[in-house]
Amino acid sequence: MTGADLVLEALEQEGVDLIFGYPGGANLPIYQRLPEHPKLKHILVRHEQGAAHMADGYARACGRPGVVFATSGPGALNLVTGLCTAYMDSVPMIAITGQVNSTQVGRDAFQESDVIGATSSVTKHSYLVTDIAQLPRVIHEAFHIATTGRPGPVLIDICKDVQMAEAERTPRTALSIPGYQLNGHVRLQDAKVAAEALAHAERPVILAGHGVLLSHAEQALLDLAEKAGVPVGTTLLGIGGFPVKHPLSLHMTGFMGTGWCLKAVQNADVLMMVGMRVDDRVTARLADFAPKVTTFIHVDIDGSEMGKNVRPHIELVADARNALEAMLPHVDSVDDRRGAWLTQIDAWREEHPLRYTHSNGHLQPQDVLIDMYKRCRNEAVVVADVGQNQIWAALWWNYDRPGLFINSGGAGTMGFALPAAIGAKFARPDLDVWCVAGEGGFVMTAQELSVAVEHQLDIKIVLLNNFSLGMVRQFQDDFYGGVRSQVELTHIPDFVKLADAYGLPGVRVERLADVGPAMDAAQRTKGPFLIDFRIDPEANVYPIVPLGKGLNDFWEAPQQ
């Protein structure tokens, strides 16, 4: 068999059903053999970045790793942003790139680039395959590493001559990766101490991140929160980890989180952070973060997160679900001042509700999202882009289950939404998929509309079009002296015509009264559908913590 066959066969053995890719000089041997492996369905993308985001959306929607093919040089380098997006958000992905012949490496051959060098900061692990003897072992290792522990993207760079080399099929052997020992790092001995600290606290708060979703810890989290009477906020990526409508829900935390969540965090005495990195978007000004906390509890599967940003008093290094389940039996009695704390939080919820301006004659983004929510409830996947649209989509939907909200949190990659929505739809054909994007991010990867049309994917594209880079414009208005610099997108395509050119229906909506009919049309239509919502160009995201300030200093939407 050839190296290409060994690769493809290993992918089949790993249960891969879908590959997002783009052929080129250095991976042609793999593409030559691909038709011989009909179990592997290949989606031809229009740009490699699109492939990476599709694989990412696929993985986030169904939990299985997304697989990407790209050729050497520019093909592989076009993946970098997509790899970084997946890496920052701990999404399992396998990227298989072609590399020039092993004897050509280092000679600046045509389309040669140092892919390992360029991607090692945005991958969990990577391999350069220069010898067919490494196959298929590295493929299986890559899947193991990508999907276990803290998930992440793994890249395999395979020299073209290795793809063409011949070798006998060898029996599959057990993996041995001495530098990747997961169990050795688990530390759960303080589960009891953590449980008691939480239950006996006067003003406890739990913050839940992406790790809760990745480890399917939602039920354990709910059980623990209810048993110990602890309110729960989520990070942007933790949305869906705890039902927003639950009486103990604080909704979203962080620098664009809800006022009542931020008040709770800033007044908590015990703060447990589960499956999250505690990054600057969660803490805002670190020195002012959760100043009344006497005991920080941090739960994360990656021990390097302990003390990276906030030094915990109690550390549980484990899968979030294992950790929460280990804590649960140790919650016996709950502090009797808990009622007063929850009453206080309810008062803050009344005092600082989410609100928006909707009386200035313009269509407001929240109107669009609320209409969308009424139609979908919690039965659709929402894939958001980055910017104001992302935060509106996070705050104005009441997600009650995991896996319904997909967005690029850590990397904040504009252009993510459309290809990720395509990947999500491939992963979950049974669910409606809505892509929410601003016009700025949308045009960065709009060429992937071809893929949506080619496969007649039922994706509803909601463009929140404000003719500007809205989040940047808001920052400039509020934090950079009101100087609007390079944020107006005065020359954008007519998106209805653009949709028509790609072969999908589209409509424009400028008035609130037309939102419903347009949504009806989108839902009636099989296949992709685009709605260009012309929203209030001055609409802002609130609450927001001014840059450089602490969470206490959040600004709210102006009163009507």
Partner: protein
């Protein structure tokens, strides 16, 4: 030694990418390399790196934790607060006239000559530092100095 500096003995898998991955991790986390020594380990297919790393603006325990995340890293021993043997090597070309004094301080002659003589000296970091000062006083002609290799003292 500054409390920002960690001394780590790192067992790594041999491979074309190992050194760049270790170096890349150090660079992108904002750490700085003070000294690095690499050589074969007792195990086939693996090398031993001895690193002295300044944690920079990061928390000092991040140095070991971040390096542990690399799949190429098999094992790390943090020797910072341990009693260790830490040995460095100096090879120097010196004027023949300086040789007797240097030999008296523990140097060994590698290559005698009528104009210049090549000597070596091994010792703990501070001893080696003192020896290099001595060389400078004698107006050495050329000097190369290794990073440290470090091993825990037996109890």
């Amino acid at each position: 030694m500054s409390d920002r500096i960690r001394v780590l003995s790192v067992l790594v898998e041999d491979g074309s990418s190992t050194l760049t991955k270790v170096a890349g991790m150090i660079r992108r986390r904002g750490f700085h390399v003070r000294a690095i020594t690499v050589g074969p380990s007792g195990e086939p297919g693996r090398s031993r790196m001895t690193l002295q790393i300044d944690a920079g603006h990061a928390e000092v325990d991040q140095v070991k934790k971040q390096l542990e995340r690399l799949v190429e890293v098999v094992e790390i021993e943090d020797l910072t607060e341990h009693d260790v043997h830490s040995r460095e090597l100096v090879v120097a070309r010196v004027k023949a006239s300086a040789v007797p004094e240097l030999v008296a301080k523990g140097a060994r002659v590698l290559e005698p000559g009528s104009v210049s003589t090549t000597v070596e000296f091994a010792g703990e970091g501070e001893e080696v530092g003192a020896f290099v000062e001595e060389l400078r006083r004698h107006g050495n002609l050329d000097v190369v100095r290794s990073g440290p290799v470090v091993m825990r003292r037996t109890a």
